[in-house]
């Protein structure tokens, strides 16, 4: 099983040794951490994505002639375990940088570790705004569009809706709370006439969907903001469909257009939701075509959003390492700040001001096609257009 994760398998038998570095002097190692056992639905495509990237990079001659090796670890979905893994990667595998993570609290834990140990960290997936703003630090960069950016993209579409009475349904943890808070704030700025009539906070992964749907319906909103995803989303959609919650109501929903969350819904996909996501079937650009072809040729499967994130994380990391031509963290930071790299979704830049990448997301509407959920009328929104002004970012981010 493990062989897939390791491109070089011999070194890790030495648990205690610092010998690993000398044995691999010609390779450049990236330490990668993610919640493989807890969230396989997301991390399996993610792993395929970064494995493809590693293959492409080494086929093209590696990083300045050196072979790229990714050492991957599971964090069991716990911040404390993620730090143990980070420590192993840094102290005993001698990696040049850390990358990965999915959950926000794990991303923050590793980012704090990176700051303390002075290691470069490229956060792949965590969406929390804190990782680049309120708890940002100079060693941490982040690839995916943040909560704020996705909220801003959705607000752009949502504010054009006539609906005035809004209700929210979000998982009761940081991600859900901050998504709702940012959405409300941006929305109320654009549309002061809006009323927030109800909010529901089911526990993450444990939604009791029937009562939640009833409670929202009782408040009689004209539009609903949904932040739940995964199994919770399935339950919510099923109950909502049966009970007619979505009939005649606009729904705006975070992440629902991502194949990871949309595909399981199959013929129960609700139509006309405004969502962020990844419609891989309708993106017609040369960059994406090349990625799609390579991915399908290697895996005989279609990519999920996780595949893009995994692929681009390692591609970006390689570009940073190549530009720095060194594994010194300070030089890596200098190389990464302001660096522009190509991606399947177009060029992205790692901003100097807050270390956020300008990778964007697709906004579109859900629809049913041949008994499957798809995203239609989708358009790519560049991340750079949905970030607050520099003066505001300066205020949000602590000085290093």
């Amino acid at each position: 099983m493990r062989a897939r994760n390791y491109f070089v398998g011999a070194a890790f038998a030495l648990l205690a040794g610092g010998m690993a570095q000398s044995a691999m002097a010609q390779d450049i190692k990236i330490g990668e951490i993610n919640s493989y056992s807890l969230l396989p639905a997301f991390t399996e495509p993610y792993r395929k994505g970064w494995q493809l990237a590693v293959e492409e990079i080494n086929a093209a001659g590696g990083i300045n002639g050196k072979k790229l090796v990714v050492v991957s670890k599971d964090d069991s979905g716990k911040p404390a375990d993620a730090q143990t893994a980070a420590n192993e990667l840094v102290s005993s595998e001698g990696v040049a940088m850390l990358a990965g993570t999915f959950l926000s609290n794990i991303g923050l834990a590793v980012s704090d570790f990176a700051n303390q140990k002075k290691v470069f960290f490229l956060a792949a997936e965590p969406l929390t705004d804190a990782i680049t703003w309120s708890k940002g630090n100079k060693y941490t960069f982040r690839l995916r569009p943040s909560n704020y950016m996705q909220a801003a993209m959705l607000v752009e579409a949502a504010s054009k809706l006539p609906a005035k009475r809004w209700a929210t349904i979000a998982p009761n943890y940081e991600y859900g709370q901050s998504a709702v808070a940012v959405f409300k704030k941006l929305m109320s700025e654009k549309r002061p006439d809006i009323q927030w009539v109800d909010e529901q906070w089911p526990p993450q992964g444990k939604i009791d969907a029937g009562p939640v749907v009833q409670a929202v319906a009782a408040a009689n909103p004209e539009a609903i903001l949904n932040v739940t995803f995964g199994a919770d989303l399935v339950k919510l959609v099923r109950e909502g469909n049966t009970r007619g919650l979505f009939k005649g109501r606009e729904v705006v929903s975070f992440l629902t257009g991502e194949p990871e969350y949309l595909d399981p819904l199959k013929d129960e996909t609700p139509e006309g939701w405004i969502v962020t996501g990844y419609p891989w079937y309708s993106i017609k650009t040369p960059e994406h075509d090349a990625f799609l072809k390579a991915y399908q040729a290697k895996y005989n499967d279609y990519p999920r959003l996780g595949s893009i994130v995994g692929y681009q994380t390692i591609k970006s990391a390689a570009a940073i390492l190549a530009k720095a031509n060194s594994t010194d963290p300070e030089k890596l930071i200098a190389a990464a700040e302001g660096l522009s790299v190509p991606s399947p979704l177009g060029e992205v830049t790692f901003r100097k001001i807050d270390h956020q990448s300008t990778l964007g997301a697709f906004v579109g509407k859900t629809a049913l096609k041949d008994g499957k959920g798809v995203m239609v009328e989708s358009a790519y929104k560049k991340g750079s257009d949905y970030l607050p002004g520099d003066a505001e970012v300066e205020k949000l981010r602590p000085k290093d």
Binding site: A16, K73, F113, D198, L265
Partner: protein, 629 residues
């Protein structure tokens, strides 16, 4: 008005799903006394198999047939598990079976992903129950109505089974007094197997019936297991009617609670359980447990302080451990620190469990409180590290003093579940009070000061504290206080008759254990440089239990070995394989079978056998009593 009626019915539908699973757990526990941690796993397998069957065979017959076949298939798996695994370990200390079922649960979580893949699966809707019924403008899913009817029907069938069949009479008798049932010549093996099969059948049926409204995925088991335990305890152990009433109570409170407090779901069941147990210590429909006939002390090798040679041996082991920085790298040292911290955590729980006879399911609360104590003192008050380390655990002490006062009023599983409820309440406060605790994003930047920052220094600090704590607790075991505490464990009545204030002894032990756990948590905060609600969570409490049981609950310091083995193996496996849960689960099940008294417990027993000169009295006495079971 129509809305409230519909909300009530929706609550009833949720209650029916919960009841099906809970009733099975209640029956199993009532008869076999097994805390069946794998009940959620059987629920999940039921859903997965039902998904495959209903997907494969179309039509109404395919659907309903698939559900029933799935439940029977899982019941068969349950029988296999009972006969191969659990049957071997009925005679060992209570709760040890928890370890076996925990191992099974770990394995199943990885197995379902291997078999069915990582994606969430959405099963088809039930034929004939796809739509909704209109009720004064409100829609009620017809499948909900089906569940609302099914719940009482199952209750009725179970009631008839228990009241009107010979098997039911035996089950009820065994629930009340299984020793007596055995003494009357009933074949317990057969009874236990059949009860286990019925319980597992109900769990799998509950899981299979979820497929028209839920997604099938590999974390379903954890989502339900704690909740059904809570329902069973609120209702009263072994009481089916109690489980039904509790399921309705919890579901309705949730359905109406979210209208007023939308964030209540996360903690509601635990609040209800805490209130119920404080007011009614045996749950709503439970009866006081009969006084244990077996005196636990008798099956134990008599405890004694270490001999001179053993002391030297322990000292030598400590010196070897302290020499680790001479030849190990930074990573090994950090892992070493983590293991030392978990030794502290495990021995603190071990003290409460083995000396006090009180098994806590929520011990992580005091570990986490110690960690949060550090976070508050260091981040808000800005105190130096050494002061923080001294004062931080006091938060654990305070928590233990308050919760312990209520908890020691109960005993057995009720005690365990009340501690769990308190731990979950503390967890949800840490999780929800974002402005103070940072919510689930935690508090960052708690790194140790310079003098302790290097991995070797921190390792020595953690090792030193672990050694001190272990010695301190051993001294407590052999102090007059320790003897008095053991007296309350072995016989509450007799100890009170000789003038020991049992509740006060147990409370003191609880506070000692909580404070010690707080010390571990304080070090942990500095090791990781951060604090998260995870540090108070159920999985950490379960880890502690596993460490104690692995080491051997009937030993004086078995938890030290249990913590080292479990934590080292866990860290190593997570690092080496994505299937760490599968391997760890298999390992735990192997240990359970090979070392039925825990690693240290079994080794001690073997040593005892080889030494004919051991104190003869208690061992001779123990033999007939053990075999009489």
């Amino acid at each position: 008005m129509a809305f409230y009626v519909v909300q009530f019915l929706t609550g009833l539908a949720s209650a029916a799903s919960l009841f099906l699973v809970a009733s099975g757990l209640s029956i199993i526990f009532g008869v076999t006394r097994i805390v069946n941690f794998a009940h959620g796993a059987f629920y999940m397998i039921g859903a997965y198999i039902a998904f495959t069957l209903t997907d494969r065979f179309s039509g109404a017959f395919g659907f309903w047939g698939g559900i029933v076949v799935a439940a029977f298939a899982v019941a068969l798996i349950g029988v296999l598990v009972e006969m191969v695994l659990l049957r071997r370990i009925y005679h060992v200390p209570e709760l040890f079976q928890l370890l076996a079922t925990f191992g099974l649960t770990l394995m199943v979580q990885d197995l379902v992903v291997l078999i069915w893949g990582p994606d969430d699966l959405v099963g088809r809707r039930a034929p004939g129950f796809k739509g909704a019924v209109d009720f004064f403008g409100q829609a009620i899913p017809s499948y909900d109505l089906f569940l609302i009817v099914l719940g009482p029907v199952v209750l009725g069938i179970l009631w008839l089974l228990f009241q009107r069949t010979r098997w039911g009479v035996l089950v009820r008798a065994a629930t009340q007094d299984r020793d007596m049932v055995a003494a009357l010549g009933v074949n317990q093996k057969w009874l236990f197997t059949s009860v286990f099969a019925v319980g597992v059948f109900l769990a799998a049926l509950g899981g299979a019936l979820q497929i028209p409204r839920d997604a099938v995925h590999h974390a379903m088991d954890l989502r339900i297991i704690v909740e059904v335990f809570v329902v069973v305890v609120i209702g009263g152990l072994g009481s089916i009617v109690g489980a039904f009433v509790a399921a309705v109570l919890v579901s309705e409170l949730n359905a109406f609670g979210i209208l007023i407090f939308p964030k209540i779901s996360i903690i509601l069941v635990f609040l209800v359980m805490a209130v119920v147990l404080i007011v009614r210590p045996w749950g709503l429909f439970g009866k006081p447990e009969a006084a244990a006939r077996r005196t636990p002390g008798l099956t134990v090798n008599p405890w004694r302080p270490l001999t001179q040679n053993e002391r030297l041996g322990a000292l030598a082991a400590l010196i070897v451990a302290a020499a680790l920085p001479l030849f190990a790298g930074n990573y090994a040292l950090t892992v070493g620190s983590e293991i030392a911290i978990f030794v502290i955590f495990a021995v603190s729980l071990h003290f409460l469990m083995s000396v006090g006879g009180l098994a806590s399911f929520g011990h992580a609360a005091y570990f986490g409180l110690g960690a949060y104590g550090i976070a508050f003192l260091a981040k808000m008050a800005g105190l130096p590290m050494i002061v923080c380390l001294l004062l931080g655990p006091l938060l654990g002490l305070m928590g233990a003093a308050v919760f312990g006062f209520f908890a020691v009023q109960l005993s057995g599983v009720y005690f365990a579940m009340l501690t769990l409820a308190f731990a979950q309440i503390v967890w949800s406060i840490a999780f929800q009070w974002v402005s103070v605790t940072g919510g689930d994003n935690g508090i960052l930047g708690l790194w140790p000061e310079k003098w302790a920052a290097s991995p070797s220094h921190f390792y020595w600090l953690a090792l030193g504290v672990a050694a001190l704590v272990t010695c301190g607790l051993r001294i407590a075991v052999f102090s007059p206080f320790g003897y008095a505490l053991r007296a309350t464990r072995d016989s509450l009545l007799r100890s009170e008759a000789v003038g020991i204030n049992a509740k006060r002894m147990q409370w003191t032990a609880f506070v000692i254990a909580g404070t010690t756990a707080g010390i571990g948590g304080a070090l942990f905060a500095y090791l990781k440089g951060s604090v998260f609600p995870d540090n108070l969570g159920i999985s950490l409490s379960v880890d502690a239990l596993v460490m104690v049981l692995l080491g051997g609950v009937e030993t004086v310091s078995g938890a030290v070995i249990g913590a080292i083995v479990y934590k080292a193996l866990n860290i190593w496996l997570v690092s080496q394989t994505d299937l760490s849960k599968l391997v760890l689960g298999a390992f735990i099940m192997l240990i359970v079978v090979v070392f039925p008294k825990g690693i240290v417990g079994t080794l001690e027993m073997l040593l005892q056998r080889r030494k004919p000169l051991a104190p003869p009295g208690p061992t001779i006495l123990a033999k007939p009593i053990e075999s009489a079971e």
